[in-house]
Symmetry: D2
Subunit: 233 residues, 4 copies
């Protein structure tokens, strides 16, 4: 059975900005925040650290950054779905703008992930691509205009609300995340309040003056938004 995610949640990764022990240290800070604020945190780990992140943390939901839609066999440099699962991944990121995939490969990778009960976290660029990918019923859809990634600029609220409406009209069970360009805890709060089920940040945190502190604040902001939403603010 797939891991059950509670919304709203937070998502982060280290891309390839840091490696080795620093990944684990970062993951532990994310895990501590997850526990402190009782918020689910998805962590996209480099292939080489999936197992260690998984074993070193209690509550993080660990994702692989990509996998090939293959079955056990040849392909020495390919990423086998069974291997990322065995290493502790509970899901997989698909079609990130830094690793765009053919539509056919996206479909096949979602199929393989579902076979193995791996969560599918699918990235899209424009609204129409998000809508098209919603038809493949991923668990999470992350529409992030490519030009915003790592830019420090965020999507405007009109885009955010429109994309949520479009995705939900196709499949209300798909969770929609906003991630591109987020650099402050306030943005995290605002996106959740605007109806996103999740917010995410990677370079926005890593390039900040105090990454661990900002990571903690962002998870805190999800919790704050959750409570405000529950209170009907």
């Amino acid at each position: 059975m797939k891991t059950k995610i509670r919304t709203p949640f937070f998502e982060t990764s280290v891309k390839n900005y840091i490696y080795g022990d620093n990944v684990i240290e970062y993951a532990k800070v994310a895990d501590a925040a997850s526990k402190e604020y009782d918020i689910d945190v998805l962590f996209v780990a480099p292939y080489t650290e999936i197992r260690r992140v998984s074993e070193s943390t209690d509550r993080l939901i660990v994702l692989a950054p990509y996998m090939d839609a293959i079955k056990p066999g040849r392909g020495i440099a390919d990423v086998l779905p069974e291997a990322v699962k065995a290493a502790g991944a509970q899901g997989v990121m698909i079609n990130h703008s830094e690793r765009p995939m053919t539509l056919s490969a996206i479909k096949k990778t979602i199929d393989r992930a579902n076979e193995l009960d791996l969560l599918t976290f699918v990235c899209a660029d424009t609204i129409v691509e998000a809508k098209a990918l919603a038809l493949l019923h991923p668990d999470i859809l992350n529409p992030e205009p490519t030009e915003l990634i790592g830019s420090g600029n965020v999507s405007d609220m009109g885009y955010v609300k429109e994309v949520i409406k479009v995705v939900k009209s196709i499949d209300p069970s798909i969770m929609v995340e906003q991630a591109a360009g987020i650099t402050t805890a306030q943005q995290v709060y605002d996106f959740i309040m605007a109806g996103s089920e999740a917010a995410g940040s990677a370079s926005g945190i890593l390039f900040s003056e105090n990454p661990y502190s900002l990571l903690n604040e962002m998870v805190c902001a999800v919790n704050r938004a959750k409570k405000d939403l529950e209170r009907g603010i």
Copy 2:
């Protein structure tokens, strides 16, 4: 400093035929054989198991199956050289026929590996490609005609001797391995006796009736060839 390899050596991998704990079990058998016969064994591990193989074994020389010639930064699904090294890899396989690379990328990956003191294990197809790649001075060159890989057929001795001569004429310090199609310990012995500094097998072992036993026999055959060569047989 790069890991020093003693010749003749043996090389193996599991490609993506097996995953998770089975990789570790296989690696431990290879490690035990390495110790039993005092023969260096190179093990190409899936990204997700590089660290665990490295930590679970004593003498294996662990290689990544591929890496991107990038520096720390973006590229969430790319394989960062610093990350494979931090995970315990002592080298990297480059240009395997299941992940062919542009000449430019081969050159850049060798450069990055050298910067990080990672052994470079470069695969070639034809003799002329082996010769061309010898000019890039990898540590190990593995010329394997693509059509033989996984076929159960081995290169003939004429090819083997010719390729060794050609490579050594360019750079005598490059170690030459034969791997394509090896399925028996006798072939391992014969290739070493014919002048190869190494023999390798992956699917030949995994598809055999008793993989662990064959793996052990192959490492034993390297040792036997080594002794016979020392005695000048």
Copy 3:
């Protein structure tokens, strides 16, 4: 303004089975059939023959087999949209299973084609992919299960009707073609009668005993189906 296509139409290509003058000869037969039966025929020409096919025929609607979503500039080996248009192409094939594209590239290529008034002929594999691609509003959608292409087996009528219904529910103006595995004029007739706006065949024609005769018969079959549909049979 884009070329206006009258339905039902026929589509064919020579892939890379033939080249040079043989392409022109084939195109002329298609053109003659187009005139004889007053049926629009789309012809996907190799890049090198787009201009000559266009200049040697009267009624064929010529398509490029692919183009890069670039603007005039660098990219010496890329296919510039302006160049295929200048050569006489009236449209472009996108995402053929022999050249799968990322979702993002499909979107951008459709955008570029629309800017240049080039018809967009988009291929899909499964029904769900056809539906996803319908959201990008191509002019023509050609859902062909990859495993049928060149196989001599056709899609069953259940698939055909389902895919038409699904595409039309999203955008009734998209023309739906069936092409995979068609080898007889009767199949062409049947697919049109089943509601397809077009039928297509390439290897089915080229591998037949008498390709020119079969090509003519297939265009004739479109005409026959058209008349029967008009008569309400």
Copy 4:
């Protein structure tokens, strides 16, 4: 039989900066200069204009910018070697930095070109790559440091002389061209005088104030260098 090239020669292309009739106009200017100065001029034409350039000019030696190492058959969007030859190409550019190829594909493409008597014009980046590719015995080797292409900066003479020496030491029959960053006729003259058998320019010409005039001057400069070399200056 392959087209015989007389050295020193000039090489140019339009990449994708211009298209359609403008390509033909440019080609005609190159052709006129070729005749005026009795210098061979290689012209790399976009796929769609290979035939028209070939038919509209008398002396240009026309090259395709790339081809796939396939045989007639499937691959609707691939570039068939037989097709570019039938369209009038006398050769093919291989491994341009804007379309880098795997070492294996470079080898196979050279083999296919030789089968069809197509001239092979192979690009390299660093000196060591030029040396490696010299082992594949192309007809022409064009070592151009990627960072110089389109930059307006040229290789220094030390690089030029070194690369010629290295290539000739492997195969003296390989013609060596210098192209990256050339923007003036004087540079063309200097490179030929320094021992290059050819000089080339594309963006350097197209971005100049008076492209046709500069193109003519560059071909003239090849002629001037040729005469000065013959006179032993």
